[in-house]
Homo-oligomer: 197 residues x 2
């Protein structure tokens, strides 16, 4: 059995961008496969009384996050541009990610969406932006309508329910075996754990 | 001029324990001096509407933190025992730390307090526990009374005011030049930045 890791990401999450851009390479170096799991943090945040990103609710934490991201993106040669407004509405992107997953193209689609949002500051609720990302990922344009089916909507609800059952509270989160790891800073540790079991 | 880094720590902070136990060695390897800065997170948390540790207010985050600490302490060969109750009241310990700083003994005293609290699960509001830490750090017992003077109380208030001016929102925090770094995960980055300016 191939070792694998679940990568739970939310499109509005800045630190998920960092992980999305490197997880396939980092995992492959240790023979670990990546299972991409889109979900929405909104319901989890709402359950604990937040109606916005904690980076907006807690301004000092927000100011720090933007500077931290700038430094990390500089060090990794990743473009970084703050989208306005933040957080972006990632609902349609998350539904599309589930369709892309069925087509075996979730990784390139998700990377294209993050690059558009945090690399170029584009609005990922915009259908035109999402179309470009879709084509960039080598997907057939006609498949995009799959994002609006009742099945896809229900599947995304299921993702967010599973996230809550897994006790996730933020993104990115990684599951390796029975262990949960939170944050881009724990990616290596999560991969090493997946490789060891 | 020697490169230096400010290390802002709160005794009740689990991740500050991780940094306190390694910062002197890690900084010395890069010729960086450490300026130990005790402060209380209580006033900062209260200002954003929290009357308890975020790890108690947000249970999923709390469950994760305890497991993350276990794993990190295992990997670093650090003993780890959860104190009860959590968070501990670190007011007297923080005042004592300021007195120990005047005596040039803050680092060994702070390490002793963290080792008692998170290595052995002891109550750091207990005067007997603090006395043992004090002697362990090579300090004269008679100097302990310095923690209760109006000057020391005012100095600790000043620390927490300065922490707010520095836009700190959690612990451990590191200041190197004009840059703020938050969390034990950023210790190396903070030291490298201090060494580079």
């Amino acid at each position: 059995m191939t070792a694998s890791i679940q990568f739970w990401f939310e499109f509005a999450s800045t630190y998920s961008y960092l992980s999305a851009m490197r997880i396939e390479d980092a995992a492959a170096r240790h023979g670990v496969a990546v299972d991409w799991q889109p979900f929405l943090l909104g319901p989890i945040f709402a359950a604990q009384g937040w109606d916005n990103s904690p980076f907006n609710i807690y301004p000092a934490k927000g100011r720090y996050m933007w500077r931290d991201m700038e430094r990390l993106c500089d060090a990794r040669d990743l473009p970084f541009l703050r989208p306005d407004p933040f957080p972006q509405n990632g609902l349609m992107a998350a539904r599309l990610a589930l369709v892309a997953k069925q087509q075996g193209r979730i990784a390139p689609f998700v990377r294209a969406v993050y690059a558009a949002q945090f690399g170029r500051g584009l609005a990922i609720s915009d259908a035109g932006v999402l179309s470009k990302c879709w084509l960039e990922a080598g997907l057939d344009a006609t498949l995009m309508q799959g994002a609006s089916t009742p099945e896809t909507k229900a599947a995304l609800h299921g993702q967010s329910e599973n996230a809550q059952k897994l006790d996730l509270f933020g993104a990115p989160s990684f599951i390796a075996g029975d262990e949960l790891f939170w944050g881009d800073d724990r990616l290596e540790q999560a991969i090493m754990h997946a490789a060891s079991i």
